[in-house]
């Protein structure tokens, strides 16, 4: 066999990809359509906004505790999906957080954001804003992208959230100063968004650590990191 890299190029020449579609026509038609409307922020009665997906092992029955959480959330049309394994995503992939911005810029793009100032960690080291999520999404990061200590993600828009839990992930109700919340802990889980048309629009899928998800006025807020529930609740209650 020839030298490896040369051999790989030859192999590449033999790969038969599916026929190349003509995309120009479809793109032209799409360009003639109005861009997707940004959804105006509005109060959302419950913390999880549309679909909570619990992925459990193929042979497992959904534990009653999780079912109770789903019912408590009051989500219509909750879907329980059986999958054997969760998809693989990289921790904090670079494309997920959006653009690095100043807090002022993030607030200009999403006026309802609150600036978290944590007792021990202070203000966030970095702020990102993604317009890919309906309504926009700001991420406050403590630490660095490479060594992240804590993430707070604020979503002012009405997005359809999907949480994928592994079979060993627990979800329980949490009260954040009277606002509804839910605490996810245990094995990794994923947070992605779905737009109203049902298409996945999420560009921020990431492997989260323990997560507290709650409603703060018009914001949906997620706190992700290696935190205890009490520590997360303390931070959540400090957000004003």
């Amino acid at each position: 066999m020839p030298e490896l890299e040369h051999a790989l190029r030859q192999l590449g020449g033999l790969v038969e990809f599916p026929p190349e579609p003509d995309l120009a026509g479809g793109v032209r038609r799409r360009l003639g359509e109005a861009p997707p409307r940004r959804w105006a922020p509005r109060r959302i009665a419950i913390v999880a906004l549309a679909v909570l997906v619990v992925a459990v092992g193929a042979a497992m029955v959904v534990p009653s505790a999780r079912t109770a959480v789903l019912e408590w959330l009051g989500i219509k049309g909750v879907k329980v999906t059986r999958v054997e394994t969760l998809p693989e995503v990289a921790l904090l992939n670079d494309g997920g957080l959006g653009d690095r911005v100043t807090l002022a810029e993030a607030r200009r793009r999403a006026p309802g954001l609150v600036e978290p100032h944590l007792k021990d960690l202070g203000t966030a080291n970095e702020v990102y804003f993604s317009a890919a999520v309906p309504g926009g999404q700001a991420t406050f990061l403590w630490g660095t992208k490479r060594e992240t200590r804590l993430l707070m993600i604020q979503s002012p828009g009405e997005a359809f959230a999907e949480k994928m839990l592994g079979p060993r992930t627990d979800a329980e109700v949490a009260d954040v100063d009277g606002q509804p919340g839910v605490w996810f802990s245990g094995d990794g889980h994923y947070f992605v968004y779905r737009d109203r048309g049902g298409k996945m629009r999420e560009e921020t899928a990431r492997l989260a650590g323990n997560t507290l998800l709650w409603q703060h006025d018009e914001l949906t807020v997620r706190l992700e990191g290696e935190l205890s529930k009490n520590a997360a609740l303390e931070i959540a209650r400090s957000v004003r």
């Binding site: 066999m1 020839p2 030298e3 490896l4 890299e5 051999a7 790989l8 190029r9 030859q10 192999l11 590449g12 020449g13 033999l14 790969v15 038969e16 990809f17 599916p18 190349e20 579609p21 003509d22 995309l23 120009a24 479809g26 793109v27 032209r28 799409r30 360009l31 003639g32 861009p35 999958v83 394994t85 969760l86 998809p87 693989e88 995503v89 990289a90 992939n93 670079d94 494309g95 994923y190 992605v192 996945m200 629009r201 999420e202 560009e203 899928a205």
Partner: protein, 186 residues
């Protein structure tokens, strides 16, 4: 009279000003590589087509943020690959279908390219088998660099990693292939 092919930066500039015909020409020029990149990432043709089309639409709407004079292709591939990743994740599918498709092709009767003739059928099978044994991130970087012939910058954009990561990941992937093949491919 044959019209002069438009310079790409000129097309991009016209598209930025709202010239949809100019953008259509850009789509035609790049739809092949965009689709194949999406196919490698998403793992199937339907999602790849959706991702490529959505990527082109999003890129058009984001042209205002495109840095004038920068190469268009890596920027486009980054957007398309993001779309492809979203679709792959949402359905819980795995990349690697491109390599399985390659396996079907190579083991079948499809006529190889003249260049491909240089690689003996037995060696193709071994190499493909070794590739299929690599972790997904290694298979993808090899496919981008050697199957799609993407540059390091383009591969970095498509995979959503830094250029240095492409270098190191490629090096590790080649090393693992050499180990797997167990013979003189140093």
């Amino acid at each position: 009279m044959v019209s002069r092919p438009q310079d790409e930066s000129e097309l991009v500039e016209r598209a930025r000003r709202g010239d949809e015909r100019a953008y259509e020409e850009l789509v035609r020029r790049h739809q092949g590589i965009a689709f194949r990149t999406a196919y490698l990432v998403a793992g199937n043709a339907a999602d790849a087509e959706d991702a490529a089309q959505e990527g082109f639409v999003k890129a058009y709407r984001a042209l205002g943020r495109f840095r004038a004079g920068a190469p268009f292709r890596p920027w486009l591939l980054q957007i398309v690959a993001n779309e492809a990743r979203n679709r792959r994740r949402s359905a819980g599918r795995r990349a690697g279908l491109a390599l399985r498709a390659a396996g079907e092709n190579l083991s079948g009767d499809a006529a190889p390219s003249p260049e491909g003739n240089l690689l003996a059928a037995e060696d193709r099978e071994r190499l493909l088998g070794a590739l299929n044994g690599l972790p997904e991130e290694h298979r993808l970087v090899i496919a981008c660099r050697y199957f799609l012939d993407l540059s390091e910058d383009e591969t970095a954009a498509a995979l959503g990693v830094r250029r240095g990561t492409v270098k190191s990941r490629t090096s590790r992937a080649l090393g693992r292939l050499r180990e797997s093949l167990g013979e003189g491919h140093a």
